[in-house]
Symmetry: C2
Subunit: 193 residues, 2 copies
DNA sequence: AGTGTTTGCCAACAACTGTTGGCAACGGGC
DNA sequence: GCCCGTTGCCAACAGTTGTTGGCAAACACT
């Protein structure tokens, strides 16, 4: 949404914009959409609440900007077909241990229709597209992607949102070992009768 | 929480209490904790908002009453060991297609710490207890239960909350067929090295 | 220097939130 | 009949929310 064309020199307010975005992601991730107030976000960013409105228009606009997210899925065609599940779990775990945007999106998606829509878009577009790259029956692609999403999001939900003790205490590598075969079967397994 | 002892005749207000609880579950399930306002719940139940306070003390008290939930897990010792996964998925799907309490709890758990705590309790207590019934290594029981919870809650999250199209469109029976082997492995599979 | 734009803060708004106290109507027990 | 607890509604409170308009300082450019 930055209206910069070509070699527009950076605006002086870009730092403020970035600070707001960073604070917004933190708050949305920690509190969800409705409990994360503009005032609290502005306080974290050490600016006035009205600046948030000027730069992002509304709370929804701020969230839309803060929840911009790319799964950065690797090219699955260059992965040995038998290790697809393993690669995917490992990627997802790494992806959101290091970036709270997806946690923010996950929390907000439970109560905010716009966030749910965004989540649907991310998984329907990016994940389904990645699954589609290694051929197989196109009619099944969406379903396979959906099943993968269910396990991946369930993992995130129990580990980062609800914080179920056994899911929090287990190391990423052990989680990968347990969950990889599941994704592998959802991706390449033969469908039930 | 009903203070009735022995043969206390039913109070005249029991109908109102029940109406409030029913409306509360609906609203919490549809909107989450913070967007479900007491005023809206009272309107649905066709009574005054102040009645909600009188009968349930506070919004938190109302939620605590509305989110009372029993998984009603069947006795797993009488299930053929090879069909544990199948029985579990089928049970869970049936359990919350017919009762919106768990959807309410799921939505609220994303933003409300109390709801998350309640969710942790339900799965840590009821599910772990059920998993523990068929022996095996006690040290692994919690982890197995956690993994099962991750797939079960991921299924519910994608189907009822985010409403991912492929997960909504797939029939319960087909979901059972896909997901049962996953739970089966989490429950009885050999742990990774 | 002088002008116009950008960046920021302050104060306030209207709406909505959970929550409270008082008061009328109704009920059963004596 | 009378009386007391229950059930219900109304009006209002205090606080918080997203959002807005105006005004001062800082800046960029001639």
């Amino acid at each position: 949404m930055t209206p910069s064309a070509q070699t527009t020199q950076p605006r002086r307010s870009d730092a403020t914009r970035a600070a707001i975005l960073r604070a917004a992601r933190e708050r949305f991730a920690a509190d969800g959409y409705e409990r994360a107030t503009i005032r609290a976000i502005a306080a974290d960013a050490q600016i006035d609440p009205s600046m948030v409105m000027r730069y992002y228009g509304s709370k929804e606009g701020l969230f839309a900007a803060a929840a911009e997210f790319d799964l950065r899925l690797p090219d699955l065609t260059s992965v040995p077909p038998g290790r697809l599940g393993e690669v995917l779990v490992r990627h997802f775990l790494a992806r959101w241990e290091g970036d709270e945007t997806l946690v923010a999106l996950l929390r907000a998606a439970s109560t905010n229709p716009g966030a749910a829509e965004r989540m649907r878009g991310i998984f329907a577009d990016q994940l389904t597209a990645a699954v589609a790259t290694f051929g197989s029956d196109p009619a099944l692609t969406a379903r396979r992607a959906g099943l993968v999403a269910s396990q991946i999001l369930g993992l995130a939900f129990t580990r980062y949102i609800v914080r179920l003790p056994p899911m929090v205490d287990t190391s990423p590598e052990e989680l990968v070992a347990w969950v990889a075969p599941t994704l592998q079967r959802y991706l390449t397994g033969t469908p039930p009768s």
